[in-house]
């Protein structure tokens, strides 16, 4: 039994691979932006004194963090369908990924909020900053700055996890691979190529976040803190 690999037969499908990779990045981009918003809101909600709101936010975070993404995607997919709502596979995938990454973002942001020294907030109050100003300048921005590395690795993990969306026929990279391998009978070669593409995508995302960090946090850059 010898292993024979025939990469050219699979590589000639490169336009499909490229389209799949682009869709994977689109999924990741939408879910990252929406999930960051949702997660930040959930982290703020969890810190409020209203027991109902903070309880609901805690329940959301714990439920999502303790169930598999695959189950969540199916629940969103069939849940929306049973309500009689029809969405594209892409929209369902974005919704499920957003709900998923929102919970992890909330935990990371909470750690960031807790790391803000109490004295900073008191000082801001002493300077008569409004509540909104305090939240934005003293709590939110420094918290994001502190947890930026953790946030970015979570978003890279999200991009990799989006491969699960192939199971509800969103046409991202893994779904493209499933299709090509069933068409060419060259499964091993196909998945090797796709694995390499994912490694490249994750390196590109890491580099992108690193560059974004340099732009967003000039203080970090000046102090030479690694991002």
């Amino acid at each position: 039994m010898s292993l024979q690999l025939d990469f050219p037969a699979v590589l000639e499908r490169w336009p499909s691979f490229l389209a799949g990779a682009v869709l994977t990045l689109e999924l990741a981009a939408f879910a990252t932006v929406l999930g960051a918003l949702l997660g930040t809101l959930a982290a703020v909600g969890r810190g409020t004194h209203n027991a109902l709101i903070s309880g609901a936010c805690k329940a959301y975070v714990e439920t999502i963090r303790n169930t598999p993404l695959l189950v969540q995607i199916f629940l969103v997919y069939f849940g929306l369908a049973s309500l009689g709502l029809k969405f594209s596979a892409f929209a369902v995938a974005v919704a499920a990924l957003t709900i998923n990454v929102g919970a992890y973002t909330a935990e990371i942001m909470r750690a960031g909020f807790e790391a803000i020294p109490r004295g900073q907030i008191e000082a801001a109050e002493g300077l008569a900053l409004s509540r909104l100003q305090i939240y934005w300048h003293i709590i939110l921005l420094p918290a994001v700055e502190k947890v930026y590395p953790a946030l970015t690795s979570q978003f890279v993990l999200l991009m990799l996890a989006s491969s699960v969306c192939s199971q509800i026929s969103a046409e991202e990279l893994t779904a493209v691979a499933n299709y090509i391998q069933s068409d060419t009978y060259r499964a091993f070669e196909t998945y090797i190529i796709v694995a390499v593409l994912y490694v490249i995508l994750s390196l590109v995302m890491r580099a992108g976040f690193w560059g974004l960090g340099l732009v967003l946090f000039p203080r970090r850059r000046r102090l030479g803190t690694p991002l």
Partner: protein, 222 residues
């Protein structure tokens, strides 16, 4: 539309849940053994070993588990081995878990305070003795909470083994759904079952972390 959910369906789901636990244990043990080797290789005095293990970790952590599962499933078949879904899933999960546990444990080994390493060296312990007698016992203490936390990830990730046809909880849910077609109810049951397996571990990990935090603050140098 084959009637309603009955005891037989629930028994079948229960069996799937047991396989989920079984596969998780296999992945934890296999990934733990390989991961331990990776952790030691990452801090090896030999540059080539350090580099090779770092490349391994980067490659696995840059690839989705789903693709690794397909690679294991079709790769083992391509080299002429006829393997069951259980073997393919176990092998893939072992490689995947090893990369993550290896990185977690490397961090734990390296976070043992520097004076401990120096003192062990000052007592003329060999590298092996230093590791076994001084560093690892302390590293295990530090490593326990994140390892328990990662067990939650392992349990959740075994759900992906369903795509290579291994009948664990997720796959048994899909099979039951094929006969009943009540997806929302069935996947809700599946979700609750996963939650029941994972949440106690999450709580345990958090408690261990808090206890560690207390111990740490006492040990912290003035």
């Amino acid at each position: 539309m084959g009637g309603h959910l009955n005891v037989n369906h629930l028994m079948f789901l229960g069996q799937g849940a047991l396989w989920t636990i079984g596969l998780s244990v296999i992945a934890l043990i296999g990934g733990g053994i390989v991961g331990f080797v990776i952790a030691l290789a990452r801090i090896s005095p030999l540059k080539s070993v350090r580099l090779a293990s770092a490349v391994y970790v980067q490659l696995v952590q840059g690839t989705p588990l789903l693709v690794i599962l397909f690679l294991g499933y079709f790769g083992l078949a391509a080299i002429g081995l006829k393997v069951s879904p259980l073997v393919a899933a176990s092998a893939s999960l072992t490689l995947y878990v090893a990369a993550y546990l290896g990185e977690i444990w490397r961090g734990c080994i390296q976070s043992v305070p520097k004076p401990q390493w120096e003192a062990a060296e000052g007592l003329a312990l060999t590298r092996t003795q230093r590791m076994i007698k001084v560093i690892l016992p302390q590293a295990i203490r530090i490593a326990t909470p994140p390892t328990v936390g990662f067990m939650v990830q392992i349990i959740k990730n075994t759900s992906l083994a369903s795509v290579v046809g291994f009948v664990e909880l997720m796959r048994s849910g899909q099979i039951v759904n094929n006969s009943l077609f009540e997806p929302f109810a069935i996947y809700a049951i599946i979700a609750v079952t996963y939650f029941a397996m994972c949440y106690p571990l999450s709580l345990f990990s958090q408690r261990l972390e808090r206890r560690m935090g207390r111990g740490r603050s006492n040990l912290a140098p003035a």
